[in-house]
């Protein structure tokens, strides 16, 4: 499987980074590759993830979208915490996503959860909808949904 090879390279790289902190050497990478084979052999039945180097760009884009969302909503939450009187109306709502694969769902959930003000509570057994707890449903529901759509699009660029 190509994914395994990739992961193996990843481990080898990680290895090299860990061992030769100041001066990277190929021999170490090579050794790391062997270590990786060991680990993969140990774990190979678990392997099922897909990961593609050529989507790096999409990843970077997704990252920046995320960071901006992170900063925005952090500000909101911090403001709420620090305001003398709490003016929030929390609640739980359901969001049906167009994303399908495990990785996509996971990425979406994580990004959503990482951004303050919202947290994914449940994924339906069919993995087609998320239940989301929001800090301030009334105020930010629309904003949140917009944010979700944003994420969905960026994620799909990475994964499809």
């Amino acid at each position: 499987m190509p994914g395994q090879l990739l992961l193996n390279l990843f481990i080898a790289f990680l290895w090299m980074l860990l061992i030769d902190e100041d001066e990277l050497r190929f021999s170490t990478f090579y050794a790391g590759f062997l270590v990786g084979i060991g680990i993969l052999f140990f774990m190979h039945r678990f392997f099922g993830t897909r990961f593609y180097l050529r989507r790096v760009y999409a990843v970077v884009r997704l990252f920046f979208i995320f960071v901006s969302e992170l900063i925005q909503s952090s500000a909101v939450v911090l403001k709420q915490i620090l305001s003398p009187r709490l003016k929030i109306e929390p609640g739980i709502f359901k969001y049906e996503t167009i994303l399908r694969s495990d990785v996509e769902i996971t990425m979406l959930s994580m990004l959503l959860t990482l951004t303050p003000g919202s947290v994914v509570m449940e994924v339906t057994p069919e993995s087609d909808a998320l239940y989301i707890h929001a800090m301030d449903v009334q105020e930010s529901r629309d904003g949140l949904i917009k944010q979700l759509k944003n994420f969905e699009k960026a994620i799909m660029e990475v994964t499809r």
Binding site: L14, L17, L18, E21, D22, L70, S74, V77, L78, I81, L82, L86, I88, E89, P90, G91, I92, F93, K94, S109, M110, L111, T113, L114, T115, P116, G117, S118, V119, V120, M121, E122, Y131, H133, M135, V137, Q138
Partner: protein, 131 residues
């Protein structure tokens, strides 16, 4: 100030920022009314603060010792990956163990799906420990 010193300073600043963030978010943990809202403060704000701090640490070592700390980077990645999962799981656990939402909550589309009955709002269960 040479560039190293600036780098160090930025690192230290990020660290300080992180610590301030951290204190603020922990205030949230005290102030917010229920576990769900508190989790917003906890898992995210404090994650953010830690990320900031670790980046600061990373930068500091980078500029002060010219040392790329893979461990710190890895730590950042790790926190980044795991913090939301942890937050998700604990909140799910809270909900499934019937820890009630705060009174000020306005909406609950999940209740009937999980507990199969009408929501009872005022119950803030003490210690959802199972027996």
């Amino acid at each position: 100030m040479n560039e190293n010193e600036i780098g160090e300073f930025i690192g230290a600043l990020l660290i300080l920022l992180g610590s301030i963030f951290s204190v603020i978010s922990v205030f949230g943990i005290i102030r917010l009314p229920d576990v769900y809202t508190r989790s917003h403060a906890a898992t995210k704000s404090s994650t953010l603060s830690v990320l900031l701090t670790l980046i600061g640490v990373f930068l500091y070592f980078l500029f002060h010792d010219h040392f790329v700390s893979v461990r710190v980077l890895l730590g950042i990645v790790f926190v980044f990956l795991t913090a939301p999962v942890a937050g998700h799981l604990i909140i799910r656990a809270a909900y499934r163990s019937k820890v009630g939402l705060a009174d000020i909550s306005v909406e609950d589309e999940l209740y009937e799906v999980i507990h199969g009955d009408k929501p009872v709002k005022d119950e803030e269960t003490e210690d959802g420990e199972r027996s």
